[in-house]
Symmetry: C2
Subunit: 225 residues, 2 copies
Amino acid sequence: MKTTPRILEVRTRILKKNDEIARAMRRDFERLGLLVVNIVSSPGTGKTAFLKETLARLAARGEPSAAVVGDLETDNDARRLAESGVPVRQINTHGLCHLEAEMVAEHLAGWDLAGLRYLFIENVGNLVCPTSWDLGESLRVALLSVTEGEDKPLKYPGLFNTADVAVITKIDLAEACEFDRDLARANLEAIRPGMRILETSAKTGHGLEAWLGELAGRRARLTAG
Amino acid sequence: MKTTPRILEVRTRILKKNDEIARAMRRDFERLGLLVVNIVSSPGTGKTAFLKETLARLAARGEPSAAVVGDLETDNDARRLAESGVPVRQINTHGLCHLEAEMVAEHLAGWDLAGLRYLFIENVGNLVCPTSWDLGESLRVALLSVTEGEDKPLKYPGLFNTADVAVITKIDLAEACEFDRDLARANLEAIRPGMRILETSAKTGHGLEAWLGELAGRRARLTAG
């Protein structure tokens, strides 16, 4: 495409600025012992249901956490997440296909992060565009639902390759969708060898304790490091 | 965002060029009596399964059709679609989040379109970025699966607002997903009043005859007009 280099040139400058902001944020977060998790996936993978269960279970254990959630429009997700009783803020991008570090920073303004252990950022539902945007997170988690097709990691390699953990969601629907677990795992492994893969259901609770264990382990390494 | 205006300025110039190419393509397509359909949706909505069934049923009726299919990587979808026996070409965008008119034009080069009645363009799976890119189509169809959540039209209004028809897919999974049909329809209606809405299942064949009827009606109006 003749058009691509011009877009790329502008985008590269903007991404560089985003990276600088994100790096400074990550330093601040890690100094506070705060594990920041960037959750990325296709629309409809079940990010909000997964996150709502995560927040409720952390709250029940007395682990202080909070969330910011990105959508083009509506505050539906923030309202759903707030039912878990933890602080939540909505970012509306008004047409933009991803979150950027500066948007997150703006929406964290005035929040006392010092008492928190976990901060979750639910990105805009998109398997392409969030890939290149560092939000200052220490952990990037890519969700993949059993309803989506096992070949999504091969078709969207960038997003899965830049994630630290893959979470397969809606595992309760695996049979109805004729989900091929081995194929999905092999495709994830092909794109990101050695990737940690968890299978979960926000509806039945399957796999959520393992996910909380993963979070605790990651945070322990953060505060130890 | 301070960064947005610079991106927007470049993007506006590129979109304008895309629109010019797309308009010229549409004139050529319509002169040939060829109905070109741009299929947009989230990743995993079932675009390929839906399109494969469509192509097979058109072929069985002796209606010549063809397809081009966009993905970041792999030719999985082109190979699946080619099983229907019709001509198919794969476009790999290598990281780009949408198709552009020029890419479609390049991949149609050398094809004899004169004998065709329908040409389908399966866009990259993305509920945001394909919105602004006219591919020269006469019909834009947005797919929404019952597994995705009824509020997607509210959260991604641009994509649903620029579509002519909404197709609800995987209706066979409606019960397992506790899909609220009335809510989904009301949300589509709120974003695009009077929108034609079809319910389908590529697995059971539900609604596919109505969809073929819709296509035939649209093509009849095209050739009459």
